[in-house]
């Protein structure tokens, strides 16, 4: 029973998400009760994570890790789920699609992400990735009367399960090569060079990398991302482009630690090339977009590239950077997408960049918040995004990848063009349409307030998180 207490947040979240569909089915009136249930479950699980920060170890016969970076990711995913929940309620009400499955699906995907963060075994990683992905397939097709939403769900589903095939084949080869699915035993086998089929190990790592870069939308497997992120409901896009991406990449942490000894520069080089190409392609494609959701989608591809720099460096500083940047990126990107969801009108109206002209006059608060998130995404100090990039760049230089850092700086400068371009559009261009902007954000205001607060706090006191994250990898 001790295991259940150690893994309390994970266990609670898994059970409550299943109970949530029963609550949904039994509640007489749609809306309120399942929403409250989901909200309180996420909050409760968030409280349960606090004691796990002081514990380092494994539970359930070494199947999951407890404490350390998995506790950090638990907190991150739970907060992401809460933010999405608050922003989602007014959004689905406005789209006239107020079915309660939305709340349980959000909870399922959060549970899946937490499973990924806790995994100490490739089987657990696989299950977590699939729980998360299947929930996302449904969520992206949630507005099932809208052809765009269904189209994005179909593309996401077909390409996502295609990637699952590669991922699980890679896992099978790693299992065959090392004779185990557990990360510590796998690491021991790789270090001691006790491999059954040394060639299969390389192919296995390559296939797992392909599968995970598909899920995280990294080059050259990023083509699905713009379409899916554009067509999916905006709050769902916010959630899956941030927490989903962080979760897919967090699956890489134990894999890299287990199968890539520090000296194996080949995998590091492959990752470095993927990372460089991802940020360049993402940022350059984002420059030419006219639809704001598409622009943010391409920029999220680029951010996956920045995050991968931490894995390239593969040292404590790099991992710290991954954790810090995941947190910073989660808040700034969710904030930006929620503002998009507030300005958006029914049937995908008001999504062009031109529609943001003169926003500062029509709705000064939203415009100011959007500017804040854009500055943070562009990495301008003293926002959270700046320090995230700073830690990642430092780690890459430390590991000897100076050229990668130069590429990253160049692509950041490209990204400044379209992030600041949006701010310029909001503040210095006059709007052609003079209709009054509906300025009642409702519950989404809570999301915006929390994201804004975290972007500023992480920017002003970065060492709070940095110290904590660093202690996980010493």
């Amino acid at each position: 029973m001790n295991d259940f207490i150690l893994a309390a947040p994970l266990v609670a979240m898994s059970f409550l998400s299943v109970i949530c569909i029963v609550v949904d089915a039994l509640s007489p009136k749609p809306g309120k009760i399942p929403f409250m249930f989901a909200g309180f479950s996420l909050l409760g699980a968030l409280l349960l994570t606090i004691p796990t920060f002081w514990y380092h170890g494994t539970a359930f016969q070494n199947m999951i890790t407890v404490g350390g970076y998995s506790a950090f990711f638990d907190v991150l995913f739970l907060i992401g789920g809460l933010l999405t929940l608050f922003a989602g309620r007014p959004y689905i009400a406005r789209e006239h699609f107020d079915h309660d499955e939305f709340y349980s699906l959000i909870m399922f995907s959060v549970a899946g992400m937490m499973v990924i963060g806790h995994s100490n075994n490739l089987l657990i990683s696989f299950i977590g990735i699939e729980i998360m992905s299947v929930s996302f397939y449904v969520l992206s097709g949630y507005l099932r009367k809208s052809i765009r939403s269904i189209e994005s769900a179909l593309k996401y589903f077909l390409l996502g399960s295609f990637a699952t095939g590669f991922l699980v084949f890679g896992i099978a080869l790693l299992y065959g090569a090392t004779g185990t699915l557990e990360f510590p035993a796998m690491h021991a086998a790789v270090v001691a060079d006790k491999l059954n089929f040394p060639n299969l190990l390389t192919v296995g790592i390559a296939l797992v990398l392909i599968g995970l870069s598909f899920k995280a939308a990294a080059f050259p497997f990023h083509q699905w991302a713009p379409d899916v992120y554009e067509g999916a409901p905006t709050v769902v896009t916010a959630f899956m482009s941030t927490a989903g991406k962080a979760a897919s990449l967090s699956a890489l942490i134990p894999v890299i630690a287990a199968v890539v000894p520090q000296t194996n520069w080949k995998v590091g080089m492959v990752l470095a090339v993927i990372s460089a190409a991802t940020m360049l392609v993402g940022n350059i494609s984002a420059v030419v977009q006219s639809n704001i959701k598409r622009m943010l989608a391409y920029s999220s591809v680029a951010h996956a590239g920045y995050l991968m720099m931490g894995f390239v460096a593969n040292n404590p500083n790099g991992m710290t950077g991954v954790l810090f940047y995941s947190a910073a990126y989660l808040f700034m990107q969710i904030g930006a997408f929620v503002i998009v969801s507030l300005i958006e009108k029914e049937n995908d109206g008001n999504l062009q960049l031109a529609d943001y002209a003169g926003l500062s006059k029509r709705n000064p608060v939203l415009a100011a918040l959007m500017a804040l998130f854009m500055f943070s995404l562009a990495g301008i100090p003293p926002m959270a995004g700046f320090f995230g990039k700073y830690y990642l760049f430092i780690a890459a230089v430390e590991a000897g990848y100076t050229w990668l850092t130069i590429v990253a700086v160049i692509s950041s400068m490209i990204s400044v063009y379209f992030y600041i371009g949006l701010v310029v559009t909001m503040y210095f261009k006059d709007s052609t349409d003079t209709t009054e902007q509906d300025s009642k954000p409702g519950l989404a205001g809570v999301t915006l307030a929390i994201s804004c607060a975290f972007v500023i706090i992480l920017g002003l006191f970065p060492q709070l998180i940095e110290k904590l994250a660093h202690s996980f990898f010493m």
Binding site: F15, V18, I21, V22, A25, L26
Partner: protein, 118 residues
Amino acid sequence: MIETYIPVIIMILVGLGFGVANILLAEYIGPRRPTKEKISTYESGMEPVKSARERFSVKFYMVAMLFILFDIEVVFMYPWAVQFKALGTVGYVAMFLFMILLFAGYIYIIKKGALKWD
């Protein structure tokens, strides 16, 4: 290596030969006296009403899908049943929790009317 498979290959050849020989023999030696009854689709069954190639209700799909989902969960009970004694109380409780979660799904589909036929 290959000699291990000789019995299998002989088996395949005999099987193929038997089937092909029977069809050929029936074709060339068998007498042929067709009547109206004999050439109907089901000789002593129902008259076919119309073509089978038509669209049918999505409800069949719903039931089939739900069957697959609940059916595949049973696969997790086999290893548990095999190791029942070794796993002891903890395994029993864990399987009980698993069944509760499955039952939650069952309540959900009933309440949402997925099993209602009309």
